[in-house]
Symmetry: C2
Subunit: 384 residues, 2 copies
């Protein structure tokens, strides 16, 4: 009977012995697996396999911080229970997708698709289909969709790559969304971000020199160009990697923006959307992450400088430290109140954890070609 009891209590205890506020997910991109981790003691808890093609994967969390929704490149959408370390459900909802989002109330999960285009929306409980937003614009096929984010008011905002459009899908009245379309926003929107307050949507444009800005407090004012010269400004260097726009840091009324093809971080005023300063850095920046208190910026770089991370003082713009974590630093994630940062060092197969005050390495964890790191505190943030 004791054996039986332990057998029965085992999984229950496994389900129940911990809370979820300090959990996270690390993508192991080559193996198609994820690590469930925790950042109170900086340990690995579980490894979960069978999530498909996780190159360029991203993750959002349920509002109770229990479930991770993992978006794979192959159109896979996998719901993982972080407490039991089990895949709850997995669907392949398209042939090729990039990026997803969860609605403000946590009830809807949306995925933006390259192939066949459009946005598909699912019930976050069951992954049952709720809405299929066809990105029809008069072309031969629906448009590829990129730059999908959630916004306050149970809205999703996204860009139509082939159609030069930005759409707002508003689910506040029910499962049949109200769609607002903005056309001629600029040629070939390829990615986008939303500011942490959920107000400003900024799309990058392959075919333009500027970016496109939509003020979601005043959508009737339309989409406007900002940062003219951003995309090609003095572009004397080959562009090794187009920086993700999610790589912007927004803190203290400023956006810190990776320049394209240059060894610079741009400082932009988020009131006027004008450039205030340019910070000379070690390579072509990919992600510029602001520590949660806004005092520090951590920057990683494109090949061949992707062994380096720099720490910048967000007030003086001075380089505080140049770190060499290892080969191919792909992503960075701060703990929620910013006392630590986790780095994924892909080609050295490890995660590093630093103290952000002393800049000392605290710990290393093994991981199989790690890329994205996502902590559950994102569940409580707009646009993440």
């Amino acid at each position: 009977m004791l054996v039986l009891l332990f057998a029965m209590l085992g999984p229950v205890a496994g389900d129940g012995s911990r809370a979820t506020g300090d959990l996270g997910v690390v993508i192991e991109r080559a193996a198609g697996s994820i690590l469930v981790v925790e950042h109170s003691h900086d340990t690995r808890l579980h490894e979960i396999e069978g999530l498909g093609d996780l190159s360029h994967a991203s993750v959002v969390f349920s509002r109770d911080a229990r479930y991770a929704f993992v978006f794979g490149r192959d159109g896979g959408l996998t719901k993982v229970d972080l407490l039991s370390a089990r895949v709850v459900k997995r669907i392949v909802q398209s042939g090729n997708s990039i990026g997803g989002a969860i609605s403000q109330d946590g009830k809807l999960v949306a995925v933006s698709n390259y192939e066949p285009g459009g946005v598909r929306v699912f019930d976050s409980q069951t992954l049952a289909p709720v809405a299929d937003i066809r990105a029809d614009y008069g072309g031969a096929q629906p448009s590829k969709v990129v730059g999908l984010v959630d916004a306050p008011g149970k809205r999703f905002v996204f860009s139509l790559y082939d159609a030069d459009q930005i759409w707002i899908a508003d689910f506040s009245a029910g499962d049949e969304p109200s769609i607002t379309r903005f056309s001629d926003v600029g040629h070939l929107p390829y990615d986008a971000l939303i500011t942490p307050d959920g107000r400003h949507y900024v799309a990058g444009l392959f075919g333009e020199d500027h970016l496109a800005l939509l003020d979601l407090w005043h959508p009737q004012r339309g989409v406007h160009p900002i940062l003219d010269g951003y995309s090609r400004r003095e572009a004397r260097l080959p562009v090794y990697k187009m920086p993700h726009l999610e790589g912007w840091a927004v803190a203290g009324g400023k956006a810190f923006v990776p320049a394209v093809g240059q060894h610079k971080v741009l400082v932009v005023d988020t009131g006027s959307w004008k450039t205030l300063a340019e910070i000379e850095v070690h390579g072509q920046p990919v992600f510029v992450m602001a520590r949660p208190d806004g005092r520090q910026l951590w920057v990683n770089y494109a090949y061949p400088d992707n062994d380096t991370v720099q720490v910048i003082d967000a007030e003086s713009y001075a380089i505080v430290r140049t770190l060499k974590p290892g080969k191919a630093v792909l992503h960075m994630e701060f703990t929620p109140r910013g006392e630590k940062i986790w780095l994924s060092v892909r080609d050295d197969n490890r995660i590093q954890v630093y103290d952000t005050a002393t800049l000392k390495l605290l710990r290393e964890l093994p991981a199989d070609k790690p890329s994205g790191i996502f902590f559950t505190s994102r569940a409580h943030r707009i646009g993440l």
Copy 2:
């Protein structure tokens, strides 16, 4: 055997069947009890009794969002496990206290005391004493301490009511804090706040017309007066309740500040700390809370207007709606991404939940003289 199994599984299942990202605590001030609640479905989960004098109680959370630390007026510090709904430990650490904080890394819990004064610091795991910061200043007794907050860099900041001082206690090097003292900050500091980025500490002063500002990015620059005329500005009305400084909302580079003794909310520029505008409101404001996206302000009022809540557009400063939730609205708490707000209506013995987009009442929950409402997402915020 089935009976035995159920008996054993019961509490384990109770421990384990849920996550902690959507939990919260409601103070039942008269009964000395708390409710454990959840805001995904807006329900009560548990009631826990025996927490002592909870008039003016406040709560902070462990970094995994599992444990609540409840600070009572009687010097009681109670650690509650939200999953098992049990008191893990309770100590009475002083004779009379007001307010507490948890360190950036979650390891230390600090309490500020009226009687015998000073700040006591405890291990968050065990509640074992770690440090006893005597607020000695040359008076007959240690000073009463108020306005205790956490700040980045494992610091606590607080004000000495009797000594006209502000102190920073820095625990980054270990359990023996390094103390920085600022004297002559202004007469009788009675409360304080820290901005959401953890940079600016603002103390209210009973004996002055202005407030005191400390920039924690540059403590060597000292404490400076701001908002001259704040405390007595046109004070023609009797002050029914001194607004808590924690009642300030900071969003989009502006602080929205309850005026003292007037029917006004002040709009202050957080760069220059000058007043930009004054918003005429229904009564003497107590709390001015910004919705997480910064678009709305919700304001409650002192007696005799404490049956009213107003919703203000944070951009145009227009009053969007005047609500009458019931008798004695004491506190308000937004869900983390702002789609809902919970209000405590003390004298009607209920909690109300509103949709912040439609401003419609979604639900009411019974509660015994509810006051403060605290959701676990505070675990991941600086200064809360």
